[in-house]
């Protein structure tokens, strides 16, 4: 079933981490398997990278802990070898880490590729402002483990997952980052039926995928379009023609948040547009978790695309 939520504040940053975690917790019944956040800090010149060091379900063999510790150091070493200056590293969980670094190069792909070359690691997100946090458990558990209550930012999206077509694991959890394009992330509720076609097409164009999950296609698809010169809104409109299946998805970039709904309006989305905030969620109950008053909401119709700026 899955639940998605998005929130964008127009007047500067607020406690987006806490808000998003309350929205997602209220939709726990839509997906208790894993929870993911894509949150945006106010922009800076430095980079933030989230790295998964091992699968949650990975075999805990004799030297597992040692290997993880070794890999933490290795991530740092490889970033520096690619010309990045590591400013800070955080051990965000037993199997994930966050690295803040400065980097003056243009191409992020060699950087991300070199980190991912370490056995078992995966770059979950990379950008000036984007941070993707996803793990097994409900919204409160993940927010607690990763210290999201104090996260201040302008906008974000989130996802509670009921695993239907791939494993209960971090790789199967949303949001998806559009590897290796910075600051683009997607959450999705639905199924894409031309997934394999698009995956082959995008792989031939040189993209790589982190998971077997159909939703990841949307992130990479949008990023490629944006890289090719489309606006987020233009790319999303086009996706309605080119992606088949039933879907409602939310996409975010460094300063925009957009929603798109398929031509059957098969998956729910409730929208609230206020003067200073726009909130979207699969259920109104999630919006009410952050706006505790009677509000005027509605369901966008079929084939609708809307984009808001922060």
């Amino acid at each position: 079933m899955c639940g998605i939520a998005g929130l964008i504040y127009k007047n500067g940053s607020t406690s987006i981490g806490d808000d998003m975690s309350r929205m997602l917790q209220s939709m726990k019944h839509r997906g208790p398997d894993s929870t993911g956040y894509a949150l945006y800090r106010p922009p800076s010149d430095d980079w933030v990278m989230h790295v998964k060091l091992a699968d949650v379900n990975a075999e805990r063999d004799f030297d597992f802990t040692q290997r993880i510790t070794r890999n933490r150091g290795e991530v740092r070493r490889r970033l520096e070898a690619e010309g990045a200056q590591v400013l800070e590293t955080l051990d965000t969980s037993p199997h994930a880490m966050t690295v803040m670094f400065s980097f003056t190069g243009d191409d992020l792909k060699p950087l991300a590729d070199r980190v991912e070359d370490i056995h078992g690691t995966e770059v979950l997100s990379l950008g000036h402002t984007l941070e993707i946090i996803k793990d097994i458990g409900d919204a409160q558990t993940v927010a607690g483990d990763y210290g999201l209550k104090g996260f201040h930012g302008t906008h974000g999206i989130g996802h509670v997952r009921m695993a239907t077509e791939s494993d209960v694991d971090i790789s199967g959890a949303h949001p998806y980052w559009a590897y290796p394009f910075s600051d683009i992330a997607v959450v999705h509720n639905g199924q894409l039926t031309n997934y394999h076609q698009w995956r082959r097409r995008l792989e031939r164009a040189g993209h790589r995928f982190q998971s077997e999950c159909d939703s990841e296609i949307i992130a990479v698809y949008l990023a490629e379009r944006i890289e090719g010169g489309d606006s987020l809104e233009g790319a999303m409109h086009r996706s309605l023609e080119e992606l088949d299946g039933v879907f409602t998805y939310l996409a975010v970039t460094g300063d925009e948040l957009g929603m798109a709904k398929d031509e059957l309006a098969a998956k729910p989305l409730v929208l609230y547009e206020g003067d200073d905030v726009v909130a979207l969620a699969s259920e109104e109950i999630a919006i009410r978790a952050v706006l505790d008053r009677e509000i005027d909401t509605y369901d966008p119709y079929e084939s609708e695309v809307m984009v808001w700026q922060r």
């Binding site: 729910p268 409730v270 259920e283 109104e284 009410r288 369901d299 079929e302």
Partner: protein, 264 residues
Amino acid sequence: MAAVEDNGRATTMDDRGLVELNDTVPHVSEIADGKATFDARELTTRQINLELRSLIYDQGILDVTVLNPGARHSLGVGILARCRIRFEGSIGYFACGLIDGPEIHITGRVGWSACENMMSGVVIIDGNAGSLTGAAMRGGDLLVKGRVGARTGIDQKGGTIIVCGDAGSNTAFMIQRGRQIILGDAGPGLGDSMYDGELYVAGKVKSLGVDCVPGEWTDADTELVERKFRIYGLGSPPEMQKFVCGKKLYNYDTLEPSERKLVL
């Protein structure tokens, strides 16, 4: 409530005689002049429904106001008595489903699948409604003053749905009997695969579904529309188009699907 021993586990029955697990009636209503009001802010969904049923079935109070429902799901479901319920605010999915008899007024918005399988009574929604509003409805009147999502009255088998705003795609999908009055625009695929029933649309229709065709306006239609407008104080009815079933799908034919599309 009566406690029942079932294989050593204590199970409770609610006032209708149906099983309700792990909760008791909160008894938080203020009752005066045969009317009850309670604040749902601190109650769980189950407690709200238990309180409602306790008031209506056990205490015989037939006028209940629920404050701060907070967009919670499955409120006011399965009320099988003549009574009056008012929700002050928005409620979530599956609102007022399977009801038989009550007059319900919701001052906010409702989520998906409101009044699903409604048997009789009246439901008035002041705000917007989500998709699948009035799904499989069998009787009674459902009035939405805002707009509705997709597939309103899917599989409707009776009753009247009135929508003052726009309606989404596949409105009245597979409707079998009953009426829908849409005062705004209707989305693509109106009345797709309908078996019977009447659809009245005042605004634009984006496209008609398979086997939905314009119908002939009769005096009975005028009488019906005027009566419903009078009952709900909607003023004088605008000019409307009527759509009915083309009955082309009633019989199986041997045409290929592509040929059948041409015929229809």
